[in-house]
């Protein structure tokens, strides 16, 4: 598997993503936002940062970048896309994922470790993860408060599209374990086909013991264990 890590003006986690993917053997290149060439077998990563200064709303301007039209085509053809933090905001603004990410209910920028419970066997991003073993990795955001209307939330639950929830170390989705006010403790969601994932926590910042843990790599390993090629979403399983 190869990866293309998108770089918008204001992106700041692109090199971290390249490094993290390298630790599990995924070779990656950085893809400037004006470029539009994405190979069918590439995993597209939309990393964290403050694309275009996050003016107007987080991710609102980035969605008009030339690269985003290519990312949308890639996803429509079944290609894998993951948006992390600002990348999640971009995918929601682009309408590629449901819902929106609002100001944290604490009004504070939260930079801390969280625990996540994987909640979906439908996607190759999460299929190999053990729902009983919470993953520990950092968050680092001011606008990660996930909102969608009730019928959308019910649908996400019914369709197993909640990829991750904030939980405590024991795996319980409590109010205390929720760092930003996200409805139903949602930390990450999947698109309908399961090939597009958005998540606020940073798996690339939990990629080796020196950083305090390598739980983030479990997501890349889940992908590596999945069938190769474009059709790695839920539709084929």
């Amino acid at each position: 598997m190869r990866a293309a890590v998108v770089v918008f003006p204001g992106t700041w986690s692109d090199r971290d993503c390249v490094h993290a993917l390298g630790t599990v053997g995924i070779e990656s290149r950085r893809l400037w936002h004006r470029e539009t060439r994405i190979e069918p077998d590439e995993l597209v990563v939309l990393p964290g940062g403050f694309s275009y200064g996050d003016y107007l709303r987080c991710g609102a301007i980035a969605r008009f970048s030339p690269v985003m039209a290519a990312v949308r085509r890639h996803a429509d053809a079944g290609g894998l896309v993951i948006g992390i933090c600002n990348g999640f905001q971009v995918l929601c603004e682009a309408g590629m994922l449901p819902g929106a990410l609002m100001c944290n209910d604490s009004l504070l920028f939260r930079c801390q470790e969280v625990h996540l419970r994987p909640g979906s066997a439908r996607s190759s991003f999460t299929r190999e993860l053990d729902p009983e073993r919470p993953l520990r990795m950092p968050i680092s955001h001011g606008e990660g408060n996930y909102y969608a209307d009730r019928s959308t939330l019910d649908r996400l639950e019914a369709e197993e599209r909640i990829a991750f929830r904030y939980v405590d170390a024991g795996g319980r989705a409590t109010r205390e374990a929720n760092p930003n006010g996200s409805l139903r403790n949602i930390a990450g969601v999947l698109n309908e086909a399961g090939n597009v994932l958005g998540m606020m926590p940073h798996p690339e910042r939990a990629c080796e013991a020196l950083l305090g843990g390598d739980d983030g790599n479990a997501i890349w390993r889940s992908l590596l264990a999945a069938p190769t090629g474009r059709a790695t979403g839920a539709a084929v399983s």
């Binding site: 929601c92 603004e93 609002m102 944290n104 006010g181």
Partner: protein
């Protein structure tokens, strides 16, 4: 074509929680404004544009809101069109 100015107000939908509004409300209470029941924080955008008439200007700015200025998942918007020649709130267009 005539100059128009659109005053766009973007607010979170009534059912969407507004942490900034709650914080401002608490701040007002701390200052002693006892009667404040609720505060909602929104955005105001002033768009200067040329259009054949006010109706077309309104149509264009509503389309801008649908596509960019507001996020329909969480926000509502109101557009008010005023005559550009008489409006003093708009920024001078770039030269």
């Amino acid at each position: 074509m005539s100059p128009y100015v659109a005053h766009v107000t973007v607010m979170l939908k009534p059912l969407v929680n507004d942490p900034a509004g709650l914080a401002v409300r608490d701040g007002l209470s701390a200052l002693g404004f006892d009667g404040v029941e609720a505060v909602r924080v929104g955005k105001r955008l002033v768009v200067t544009l040329s259009a054949p008439d006010a109706e077309e200007a309104a149509r264009l700015v509503n389309a801008m809101c649908d596509q960019l200025l507001a996020n329909p998942v969480i926000e509502d918007f109101v557009v008010e069109i005023v005559d550009g020649a008489s409006d003093t709130t708009a920024a001078a267009p770039p030269s």
